[in-house]
């Protein structure tokens, strides 16, 4: 993720327990120097319906970092980094219904709106987490991942603004 141009950092999730992992990362990123330090070109969003909104956000972006909840059997809080989208299996990803994330990316490819670079981070969640509060493992993982993303980004990457997502 070196040359970035227009960058979108998108957290996908819902308000249910650990499923808000993607939103938590975006919230954490907004507390980092990244939000102020960057100039034009980067946007951070939290989305709740990946199928529809995600495609419109992919369009026109040069690079996209997606963060979503994942269930693969690993311990809750485990961070997955997937830069080879061919590795994504549809049933690996947790998402609200409509189109799941894997199908959404397939549709984006069919519509020719996939960015040149797409990096997916997944945070392993505990599906038994119910209610509004996420688990401690996922909250800590979200903070850790936010800092990792900041470290990976070139400092000249830039922020158009922080338009409203869901949370």
């Amino acid at each position: 993720m070196s040359a970035m141009g227009k960058l979108r950092i998108i957290g996908v999730g819902s308000a249910a327990g650990d499923d808000q992992a993607g939103w938590l990362v975006v919230q954490a990123l907004r507390r980092t120097p990244l939000a102020q330090r960057c100039g034009r070109g980067t946007r951070m969003l939290a989305l709740d319906r990946p199928g529809v909104q995600l495609i419109s956000q992919l369009e026109g972006a040069d690079a996209v970092i997606l963060i979503d909840a994942i269930r693969s059997g690993a311990a809750p809080g485990t961070i997955h980094r997937i830069d080879d989208l061919a590795r994504i299996e549809a049933d690996l990803l947790v998402s609200c219904h409509g189109l799941g994330l894997a199908a959404t990316l397939e549709l984006a490819r069919a519509l020719d709106v996939m960015p040149a670079t797409l990096l997916l981070y997944g945070i392993e969640i505990d599906p038994a987490t119910t209610g509004a509060a996420p688990s401690k493992m996922v909250t800590e993982a979200a903070d850790l991942l936010a800092h990792r993303i900041v470290e990976e980004l070139p400092l000249h990457a830039a922020s158009e603004s922080a338009p409203a997502g869901v949370p």
Binding site: D48, G51, V52, H97, A103, A110
Partner: protein, 442 residues
Amino acid sequence: MAEEPKSAAPERGERTVQIHVPVLARVEGEGALHLRIRGGQIEELSLQIYEPPRLFEKFLEGRSYEEVPDMVARICGICPVAYQISAVNALEDAFGVEPGPWVQAMRRVLYCGEWIQSHCLHIHLLAAPDFLGYESVIAMARDHPQVVRRGLALQALGNDLMRLLGARSVHPIGVKVGGFHHAPHPAEAQAMAERLHAALADTQALVRWCASLAVPEDWQDFVSVAMGDAQQYPIERGRIIAGDGLAIDPAQYEQHFTEEQVAHSTALYSRYRGRAYLVGPLARLNLNRDRLAAPVQQLLAQTALAWPSRNMFHSIVARAIEVHFAVAEAARLLQDYTLPSAPAVAVTPRAGVGYGCSEAPRGLLWHRYRVDGDGRIVEARIVPPTSQNQARIEEDLRLSLQAFGLDHDDEQLRLHCEKVIRNYDPCISCATHFLRLGVQRE
């Protein structure tokens, strides 16, 4: 998991066809269609719903009326507003609350958002690929990118409209008994009205495109049931009417409609005067098309289809008409938006029973609550549209398969069954190619 298909050679024209719905991730509800054909006749047909009882009615008992809108929103991720509005209608009925014109208008706007997003999801992601012969919307998008883009943009518009009043589009949290928690700023409402106006050309094109799709000629006799209103196309409030002249208040629903358990499903089957009946967009349009504004009626006339329609395959056109109507209706209501002195009226709970209903994207959604003097739920009853349509789906499948021709091969039968079921947009149709066919020949 789905059963493996089983096949054997036919003997003397006798064969048994079994169609199974596999367990699917990200699909609300699990089900199976069991079909047995013997000697050229359907011997047995049953739509099996495996969804475990979710016990929402029991969850609500003992809860404050204030918690109900947010709790029932969790029943469905696609139509949470319908559950919220039916619930607040019933609770306001119990408490004798009249929320006033601003709240009623904004509930209608919020509901329009849900219709737009739900119908557009169905049309583009589920139904259109069927009719055009594609495996999925992904395959369809390669050949019809502009159609899919238009659909996704309209769906996003519906989501944004829900967010305007509900704070978020999935399980929105804006609705309360008596009104809303928050009133949008006039500038937000005006900006949304402008987006809606700008989308009208797309929704008109969507109606024409849906009407141009080739669908089976499958005419059936059924009773349409929907809400009806003297002034406007029914969405968020009104009486309950039927194609045979029935016109009742929501409180009278249980006198005319019954629910029964069947051995093969955990869902309850609804009947009207002992018969299966239809709820949903086609039923609404059949009964209420004269309530549409003149330009929408003109657009409907341009479809060159005969209305009322007895062909369930015209449901996709009915949904497209309702998308256009909902965009125009929300634009009209937001055009005159003013900030209210308060987004909700005061509510004083009292003991009693309240009835309420509204038109979910999939059809009539009826609620009844018994509450105590503190406003706690003593008893709840919720009748969703999909369970009301289940008997009709089975009836339709019998008739439609017979008309389609039972001599078609198993794959063609499976695809036809999927199309028939999808017309009703039940939650189990959320996946493409959800039926697996097993043939047993003896």
